[in-house]
Amino acid sequence: MRSLTQYRGIVRVAAIAAAAALLLAACAPGGNSEAGPAPTRQASTGVGSEPVTLRLLVNSGVDVPFYTALGELFHAKYDNVTVKVENQDYATLTTNIAHILAGSNVPDLVRVSQLGNLIEDHLLTGLDPYAKAYGWDQWPQSQFASTRVGPDGKQRGTGSLYAAGAGFGLTGVYYNKALAQRIGMTRPPATVAEFEQLLAKAKDAGLQPIMINGKDGGSVYPLQNLVMSSAGDAQAVQDWNYAKPGASIDNAATVKAATSLQRWGQAGYLPADVNDIDQTRAPAEFVKGNGVFFPSGNWQAPALDKAGAGQFGFFLFPSGETGGPSYAMTAPANLGIPAKSPHADVAAAFLDFVQTNSQARQDTVTLGGLVPAGPSEAAAPTAPEGSAVAATVGSFQELLKSNGLVGFMADATASIHVNSLIPQTQLLLAGKTTPEAFAAKVQSDYERDLGQ
């Protein structure tokens, strides 16, 4: 039996290989253990006169025409700089960003959705010198809070600046004006309870109360809003987002929020195939009249206005009780400068340009749907009255004053969105997990991500 002896041979060599591997295990793998300070550069504000191709890596979809337009504006001003926009779909980019930035083919600016380990691993250029050089430090500083990272590389909200963006995303609830009128909605709901009454009315009227994309995480927005509404406060969530030591969302507010969302699902307020709807299909369905309400973000507004000018309104997610605070999730459309970028100065000039140039700011609203921040004296871009875009811009200004802007739970760690919030919310809506288990599981995943 030659074959049998051969297999015995395999066992033997496998055993030797395993032993060798164990020996290898005695020494630590790879890892440049230079745990020094984050790389900072000599900041210069010029773009020089050498021809430069600035490579910009963004998400597929609306990002592409938006940043292409910004790039053309920049090129018009500095004709030695050509901006080349590359794109990868959101899931691929968030999955691979650390390795793209650590690799050999590094872009000059990259769309960073979650900072994750990027700071700890020294993959992004610190922007403090540029902030000083360009005078960003004279602007309202709350706009930069979410991309400041402390010396441990994890805690956000304080420390050095690592990313900035042309404008801010903002979430709330779109509504179909005609359908809302049909169910007797005369003004946006003031409380969650009022909102639920409207949902029930919509259901009774044979309408789809809410259109939402459960496939890629749209249902996490109302969940987070419900958490903040039921707590009557956003501080706990914000601490959690910023990885403040000891932060936890395994609490009564989350359980209550998860219970409400689950109830909405069971009551038929959410589409039956909610987990199959992605963020392209949801607005398409909503535009078709499938859904009275559509909880989403301002990046959807330009397309909604285009599909039916004046037909869609926007309100902030209602608060827990009458007169209570309103909250919305926000995040800058962050661009970071990879530590390995050879054109950091030009990239920083681009970042300054998109925040201050008036045409760029206008494009940010018109094309990107985002609200530009920048210096306090900068002129606010215009949007047609009654449009969804105008409504989102108005809401942003309102929340800026009331301190109601909170980061996305989805951005708390690199993988919390894909690995915990999306699947757990899907399980919740399918009745496969309990609100209590939901809260505990998201918290434990979060702690593991942070290495706690």
């Binding site: 074959s3 290989a17 591997a21 496939k215 987990n275 690199a414």
Partner: protein
């Protein structure tokens, strides 16, 4: 004495199989009249390039995987020893354990059904007169096997979508109430992904088994018929035992494809809804790149490799025993 019928794995991550593996796999070893042979060191030169590439790009990385699995490492910064934590997690973290479970459920679809249906298809084709139709049947059934699995994933994602063909057919025959978005349905997502596996693997099994049936001595069938055996008992008395080696090759190959599936899931469901279709292959990819838990990913990878060996081993033995 039989030659080893090793699994004809061309690539596990995206298994395109090959009908032609049969001669290699089942070719009887011709006894050699070997002259007294001395070891010839120069012969090593013939083997060196092949073994060198294999050592550098397979053996060495495998050893590294084992090594990484004992560390906590984000893949970029410094690594810290983690003892057996990564290994314990495989058995204590429900998502990881479930991903392994799902891989075994996929075996039903990648292996059991294609082998069963392949037997049916092979015996149907065998009864046809050789000609255009039998050739066409063989070729058509085999086509899914040669396509990129990415394309299989895309084709079936469209088939299963709300507007896709599956629902279109259900509506056409009046089963409107059973239409659904199959890949995001908690109950049906995993079986639906499994059916993609049936689609890919059926042709491979059919062609392999067809070749095997052709090798069975017709005299055995005559003898069975003389004994008054019906079709069914003939199948069990003659066909099945005669196909032992082909069955082993089919089973081995398709099981590896099931346990190590990646492409189809990554394209069609990314493991959702919830964690319903998460498999070790996708989990390893995510752990490495999204979560940057390289140690945990490596532990799961080594576990998966060991699991495949453990599962394949007894099947291989089965194929050798006569």
């Amino acid at each position: 004495m039989a030659s080893i019928s090793g699994p004809p794995v061309v690539r596990q991550a995206s298994p395109t199989a090959d009908p032609a593996s049969v001669p290699a796999a089942t070719q009887p070893v011709v006894p050699r009249r070997t002259a007294p042979r001395t070891r010839r060191w120069s012969a090593l030169l013939w083997v060196a390039p092949a073994f060198g590439m294999y050592a550098v790009f397979v053996l060495f990385p495998m050893a590294q995987s084992v090594q990484y699995s004992f560390y906590d490492w984000d893949g970029i910064g410094p690594a810290t020893p983690a003892g057996l934590d990564n290994w314990k997690a495989i058995f204590t973290r429900p998502e990881l354990l479930h991903s392994v479970e799902h891989a075994f459920i996929l075996v039903i679809f990648y292996t059991v059904l294609p082998v069963g249906l392949g037997l049916v298809a092979a015996s149907l084709i065998r009864e046809l007169r050789p000609g255009a139709f039998s050739t066409t049947a063989r070729v058509v059934l085999f086509i899914p096997q040669v396509l990129p699995l990415v394309a299989a994933g895309i084709a079936w994602t469209w088939m299963y979508s709300s507007d896709g063909l599956v629902n279109q057919v259900l509506r056409a025959v009046g089963l409107e109430q059973h239409t659904r978005a199959w890949l995001s349905d908690f109950t049906f997502a995993l079986p639906a992904v499994g059916v993609i596996g049936v689609w890919v693997m059926l042709g491979f099994c059919t062609v392999l088994l067809l070749a095997g049936i052709g090798k069975i001595d017709p005299a055995l069938y005559e003898a069975a018929r003389l004994d008054g055996a019906g079709r069914i008992s003939e199948f069990f008395a003659v066909t099945l035992p005669g196909l032992r080696r082909e069955l082993v090759v089919c089973t081995t190959f398709t099981m590896i494809a099931a346990l190590a599936s990646f492409d189809v899931i990554q394209i069609s469901t990314q493991g959702g809804p919830g964690y319903q279709t998460m498999v070790p292959g996708v989990e390893i990819y995510r752990l490495t790149f999204l979560q940057q838990h390289v140690g945990q990913a490596s532990a799961l990878a080594v576990f998966l490799a060991a699991l495949v060996l453990v599962v394949i081993w007894p099947i291989q033995r089965l194929g050798r025993e006569k």
